[in-house]
């Protein structure tokens, strides 16, 4: 199963680097891998969410080679967090993945921001207010807007099967 996820990660990463990184909305790029990780956590549980997040984050980190592990940590936390949401809410509604991606994006970006503030040689360049309004919130909006696409392609079926099993 993890191999299937690896293929999805590679596919989404190529799509992200080659295409979506250039399609800026509100001045930011979306994070396709994060949407994938959150949905994986939401429908397959905390552990799977964290595992996929770790893998996706490391693959992403290799592209720039700086701060190796930063995105892995942030995405693992986000995936785990999305899994926790499942315990609190019913999965039937389409609003749940939207809410999960919105919240998880903010968590993800806050983790990245905190790491940059601590470890980046020019860390003071990442002011909190500027980061929040220019990067974190716009990215959350963009990711939320793209969530239905991935949901209908991959998770609608998964969700329906889960609901049948639970019945």
């Amino acid at each position: 199963m993890l191999w299937g996820n690896l293929l999805w990660i590679v596919f989404l990463l190529i799509l992200q680097i080659g295409l979506f990184s250039s399609l800026k909305l509100f001045g930011v790029k979306p994070d396709l891998l994060l949407i994938f990780v959150v949905l994986e956590g939401l429908y397959r549980g905390t552990v799977r969410g964290a595992q996929v997040g770790l893998l996706a984050g490391f693959m992403q980190g290799i592209i720039s080679g700086r701060f190796l592990g930063m995105f892995a940590l942030a995405k693992a936390i986000s995936g785990y967090f999305a899994g926790l949401l499942t315990m609190k809410f019913f999965r039937e509604s389409i609003y749940i993945p939207l809410l999960a991606v919105w919240t998880a994006t903010i968590v993800h970006e806050l983790v990245v921001w905190a790491i940059l503030r601590i470890f980046h040689p020019s860390g003071e360049a990442y002011g909190f207010v500027a980061s929040l309004f220019n990067i974190i919130l716009p990215t959350a909006v963009y990711n939320t807007l793209l969530t239905p696409v991935l949901y209908y392609i991959r998770y609608k079926k998964v969700n329906e099967n889960l609901l049948v099993k639970e019945d």
Binding site: I14, G18, L23, I63, G65, F67, S122, Y126, N134
Partner: protein
């Protein structure tokens, strides 16, 4: 909600990650072989996706620009007339330059670049500004080589694999380019910022730097990584920090970083200097 085991795992992971992130926070001089392979495996797919995306991207951006087309057309026509005159002047100067060179018996200028390259991707996140180019170690690219295009300075190579490289753009908060104001010669350091991601911030070494809106910003050649005299952009604003100790200029880059296609990778600037130093020592 959290079991004791989960808490141990979280603490363990946090320590492990802090070590990995901390040790790779500064740019490394060498790229590991595994990273290099992974980068190169992605490359062909990425190139195809980027090329397909090129057209979609142009459409995406052009929708918002329809209103400006008429005015821009008018402005461009005026510019064409001016340029026509300039072309004649340049031709005259070129002839004069050739004559003088012959007179001084100078060799024809040595090519200053290693390779032309195509942009095949961008970094996936919003925190850094990087592009990936389709030239790597086998094409003679090395870390810290400077990248330009016809509009001016683009950035520098931060990571090299066999068939592709990562370039840190001037708009990255970590770019730190030695720069000067062309008119007054006052110098400082230019880097990207989070407040306005499409503008650069130039921090001056002197508090009362002579800078006004409209000034041209060039690379200063200090710090030896970037060669002197490459165009960075134009000053669009000036500010001082809250204490009033540091003067900043807000700079609009001359390069359109949203539409970056072809770039030139220059030879290492400091290597030439090192060779010159060695020659002097021998003498």
């Amino acid at each position: 909600m959290f079991g004791r085991r989960v808490i141990y795992v979280i603490i363990g992971l946090t320590i492990a990650f802090s070590l990995i992130i901390g040790s790779t926070a500064q740019e490394r001089t060498e790229t590991t072989q595994v990273e290099s392979w992974l980068m190169d495996i992605f490359m062909p797919f990425q190139t195809v996706v980027y090329q397909i995306g090129d057209q979609g991207r142009d459409l995406f951006y052009s929708v918002g620009e329809i209103g400006n087309v008429y005015n821009e057309n008018k402005r461009l026509q005026e510019e064409v007339e001016t340029l026509e005159q300039l072309r004649v002047d340049v031709e005259l100067l070129r002839q004069e330059n050739a004559r003088l060179r012959e007179l001084l018996q100078l060799d024809t200028e040595e090519s200053e670049f290693v390779s032309a390259a195509k942009v095949i991707g961008r970094n996936p996140d919003n925190w850094f500004s990087e592009v990936i180019i389709n030239r790597g170690r086998v094409h003679g690219i090395e870390k810290d080589m400077v990248v330009v295009n016809s509009k001016g300075l683009v950035g520098r190579v931060s990571k090299v694999s066999d068939y592709s490289s990562t370039v840190v753009l001037v708009t990255d908060p970590d770019s730190g380019v030695g720069a000067k104001i062309a008119r007054s010669g006052h110098s400082g350091v230019v880097s990207g910022q989070v407040e306005q991601t499409d503008l650069l911030l130039m921090k001056f070494f002197s508090r009362d730097a002579d800078v006004v809106v409209g000034d041209t910003v060039l690379t200063s050649g200090y710090g030896s990584m970037y060669p002197e005299g490459k165009l960075i952009g134009t000053v669009v604003g000036r500010k001082t920090d809250s204490v009033g100790l540091v003067t900043y200029a807000v700079v609009k880059p001359s390069v359109d970083f949203d539409r970056l296609d072809e770039v030139l990778v220059l030879k290492l600037a400091y290597r030439e200097e090192e060779v010159e130093d060695e020659v002097e020592l021998e003498e």
